[in-house]
């Protein structure tokens, strides 16, 4: 999760103080701990890895062991202000269903993912190889990332599902933005951050 840190500030900026937050794939709870400190949020992290759950408990996070591929059926409609999922969308079995579930459970959803449309990915594909980049460091045979997409793909899905995009930011690995990124986000952005709600 070396991409998590730089994203923290943007996500924290999007969150209203005192909100109720559900963090899908919370890992050791870094984001929730940060949000609790800076935004006084209350909520839970969902995680599947036992070692990370122990670390999350250490970090004072309320963590619930869960398999995101099973969905969020246990959580009531509109029971959270935000449902957040950082750098995990591309690793779940049913990203479309999970997105729907996120926006059922949360008033808003915050999603970040590596942009497969970034020029480095395109260039490597043009050279005849699956991309291996800083945001996508795995080789094709050992990657957990099974549902990669570009900004355009993601936004098409949002349109199809009637998700309203409230905000979008693209950034590089260090979470810097630039003019080219703003002009050609799908080509220049390495990481995409979206804030959504149901239309």
């Amino acid at each position: 999760m070396n991409t998590l840190r730089p994203e923290l500030r943007t996500i924290a900026d999007w969150i209203a103080p005192g909100s109720r937050v559900l963090d899908l794939g919370c890992g050791e709870g870094t984001l929730l701990a940060h949000l609790r400190q800076t935004r006084q949020v209350d909520g839970y992290g969902l995680e599947i890895d036992p070692a990370k759950i122990v670390r999350a408990i250490d970090n004072g996070i309320n963590v619930i062991q869960s398999d995101l591929d099973v969905g969020l059926a246990e959580f009531a409609d509109a029971s959270f202000d935000y449902v957040i999922m950082t750098q995990t969308l591309q690793a779940v079995h049913y990203p479309d269903r999970l997105l729907e579930d996120m926006l059922r459970v949360g008033r808003e959803g915050i999603i970040t993912f590596p942009n497969f449309g970034h020029w480095r990915c395109r260039l490597q594909l043009l050279g005849g190889h699956m991309p291996v980049t800083a945001s996508l460091p795995h080789t094709w045979y050992n990657t957990p990332n099974i549902h990669l997409c570009t900004l355009r793909d993601f936004e098409e899905l949002c349109a199809e599902k009637d998700f309203h995009i409230l905000e979008r930011t693209v950034a590089d690995q260090q979470h810097r933005s630039s003019l080219p990124m703003r002009l050609w986000p799908n080509l220049m952005g390495e990481v995409a951050l979206y804030r959504l709600r149901r239309a």
């Binding site: 109720r20 209350d42 839970y44 036992p50 759950i53 122990v54 670390r55 999350a56 408990i57 250490d58 004072g60 996070i61 309320n62 963590v63 619930i64 062991q65 246990e74 959580f75 009531a76 029971s79």
Partner: protein, 381 residues
């Protein structure tokens, strides 16, 4: 028998007894005029009395949760795995209290005790006690021990149910509830197994409608059968396969009904040794307490409403191969807590041991438990 006591054990311990002369009104409508509770403590109570944890025992447990009563003891207390210096319930930091519940057969008032009204043992006339009754009696013990608020109330199985009931009934008197391998109420299958166990005991000719003390007998066959049945439900298919497979004691089939398979030998041994240390009337009572447990019943069967009163933080744990109280049952508790916006963490521990896993030294389990208890100790979220 250990030659020397292991360094991570609480060592030699002595049970204590507390006498209660004030009557205790029970859920069944009857009242116990007076009663005694036997308990053990491990670790020092700190000056502000804030480090006490209560351990609640399961069906066949008692107050002897850790340590040894003498150097001759073959086995330590039932939760030695989790209680002791450096263990999840770390006695270097916590003052641990564990009692034998009312209706028990290890020193607390129960069917074997003398009924002051008749001068004879209560036997089958001992009132049926519920989890709520136990929690009420435990709260009185806490008062007598000068413990206004537990740092945590902790239990596995039926013990976990008591921890949950504590959080609902005495919200201000515990900071954390640790509920392990439990369920919010029994399923029809669970009750079915309990009923078979009860029938095994009650249909034993030596049972004498529960008055067997007067006949100087014990319903040995019935109680042993009940325990054998229980044991099967405590283990997973996988654990039994790993432990016994289809191994034969004599190496070949004997075409008879004597013990042939190792698993038969094991179950018979478990049943027979249980008879020596457990009372049949208590077994009946404990299974009833399980069957009756249903904290949501008072709240329109809405568990989320039931736990809404709670002020504690919760740690819920379950084990993948537990089919007696499967992870899905623990998740019902988690869901209710989330729905009523309570602080809760939940871990589903990968384990092949079945329900008994909560007593086993499983590394992921101990690590998760320790991490949570450190949080309890340091008083943070």
């Amino acid at each position: 028998m250990p030659d020397t006591l292991p360094p991570d054990s609480v060592g030699l311990v002595t049970p204590q007894k507390m006498v209660f002369d004030e009557p205790l009104a029970l859920d069944c409508g009857r009242t116990l005029p007076s009663y005694e509770l036997v308990y053990e403590t491990y670790g020092e109570l700190n000056a502000d009395r804030s480090n006490a944890v209560l351990i609640c025992h399961a069906l066949s447990g008692n107050h002897h949760a850790a340590g040894y009563h003498s150097l001759e003891d073959r086995k330590p207390g039932w939760w030695e795995t989790c209680i002791g210096p450096g263990k999840p319930i770390d006695t270097d930091h916590f003052h641990v209290v564990c009692l034998n519940n009312l209706g028990g057969c290890h020193g607390s008032t129960g069917p074997m005790s003398i009924n002051p009204e008749t001068g004879k043992p209560y036997g089958p006339d001992f009132p049926i006690v519920t989890v709520r009754d136990w929690v009420r009696s435990q709260a009185r013990l806490a008062e007598r021990l000068g413990i206004e608020q537990w740092a945590a109330v902790i239990g596995g199985s039926l013990g976990g149910m008591q921890a949950l009931q504590w959080a609902i009934d005495f919200p201000e008197r515990l900071r954390h509830a640790v509920v392990i391998a439990a369920a919010p109420k029994l399923s029809a299958q669970n009750i079915g197994f309990n009923e078979v166990a009860r029938q095994a005991i009650m249909s034993d000719p030596d049972f004498h409608d529960g008055h067997y003390y007067e006949h100087h007998t014990i319903p040995r066959r019935g109680l042993a059968l009940a325990r054998m049945l229980g044991h099967i439900t405590y283990l997973s298919d996988e654990a039994m396969r790993a432990k016994f497979g289809r191994e034969l004691r004599e190496g070949k089939l004997s075409f008879g009904f004597d013990v042939e398979f190792q698993v038969e030998s094991y179950l018979r041994y478990q049943g027979q040794s249980f008879v020596e240390k457990f009372d049949a009337n208590t077994y009946l009572l404990m299974t009833k307490a399980l069957d009756y447990f249903d904290p949501a019943a008072d709240y329109d069967n809405d568990l989320a409403r039931a736990v809404d009163r709670a002020r504690a933080e919760f740690m819920i744990m379950s084990f993948t191969s537990d089919w007696r109280f499967a992870p899905s049952r623990s998740r019902e508790i988690v869901k209710a807590l989330v729905d009523s916006r309570k602080p809760v963490s939940y871990a589903e521990i990968e384990a092949h041991h079945g329900h008994d896993a909560f007593l086993m030294p499983i590394p992921d389990y101990l690590a998760t438990f320790s991490a949570y208890m450190t949080r309890v100790r340091e008083g943070r979220p």
